[in-house]
Symmetry: C2
Subunit: 210 residues, 2 copies
């Protein structure tokens, strides 16, 4: 079996293959890198027309990360997918509370999802930080509510939950929040590796500009 | 914002929405559950025509899990996505070596990916176990080589790596291995949550039949 085995060769070849799928979008260099990473993580060029990056969102994530901002995730898979060694090199940490027994208790008592209870409990710790949601529409809806009703102010929200119940609506609501810069993918597709890949893409953008 | 917040309601509604997308495939009940979970995890009904489950593969995974088989994964995200509490209830554990410093050393020395080195180092520990690959085509190619050339005999391989370099070829090779039962998704799409969801689907099938 003959196949490419060197990580950097795989990476470079992958980006070459993806390039034609995004060329018609006339993206600036940073946006092209984020688009490429999302398509790379999903294996799905069909993501391209649904990706939405609000004006200044990449720069907002960059600035926050450079200041050592932490990242708050809805599920452990997003935290796992984030390059935490790289994040630590900027001074940041990734947090997730979904497996916390207290969160499970609150969720059960209130009849809500654990990821929704987890985002609520982060509260103002998310001010100035990055929020990265890759699984639960309920978590994204709750973050939007916290922004609108409780004045919580993350630096940016990377909101790419997946599925057929609420995901498309929650992502549409994110694009209409009017307050916080965002990166998302409209529709039902998404997931933890996709959200994590957006974070990683921007960390690599910072690295390449140093 | 009005949306469904109860986990079981979300789950049930999601499965209802997915059902029409798979009805033309005339699947048996267990296969329908696996198809539904893969589509649920990706948010992508476009998976349906590319899913391949070899004859007896679901039963092979069920039998192994019931005997307390362990699961060997290529990356931490697959291990994270597997319901490990459920797995432990059958007596199994999930293993991943990609973050092991010794594996990194071997990978660097041999000019191969870490996930490939990790699968190689599992060796005969994989006999009778489940292999679940959700990221690296190189890891799946290596598992196929271990099966064909070194007589390693997992109970089944869930091989759903993602991407544009090797993923489609590695999954095609899995369907043609001729020895081990498999679950896969042809083409470039796939990923850690997809591989983990196949494992979880089968654990829930066992639960529902108890």
């Amino acid at each position: 079996m003959d196949f490419i085995k060197k990580p950097m060769d795989i990476e470079n070849r992958s980006m070459e293959i993806i390039a034609p799928y995004i060329k018609d979008y006339h993206l600036d260099e940073k946006s092209a890198k984020v688009y490429s990473r999302l398509i790379h993580a999903s294996g799905d060029p069909g993501y391209a027309p649904y990706i939405r990056i609000s004006d200044g969102a990449i720069e907002a994530v960059e600035d926050a990360l450079k200041k050592g901002a932490d990242i708050y995730t809805d599920v452990e898979m997003v935290r796992t997918g984030i390059n935490k060694k790289k994040l630590a090199s900027f001074g940041g940490e990734a947090h997730c509370l979904i497996a916390d027994p207290d969160i499970a208790t609150v969720a059960k008592k209130d009849g809500i999802t654990r990821s929704m209870a987890a985002m609520r409990s982060f509260g103002h710790d998310m001010d100035g930080a990055i929020v990265a949601i890759g699984n639960a529409p309920t978590a994204l809806f709750e973050v939007i509510r916290l922004i609108k009703e409780e004045g919580i102010r993350p630096a940016a929200v990377i909101g790419i939950p997946v599925g057929f119940v609420g995901a498309a609506d929650s992502k549409q609501a994110l694009t209409e929040n009017g307050i916080i810069p965002f990166i998302t993918v409209l529709g039902t597709k998404g997931g933890s590796p996709i959200a994590a890949s957006a974070v990683n893409a921007i960390m690599y953008i910072i690295d390449n500009s140093r």
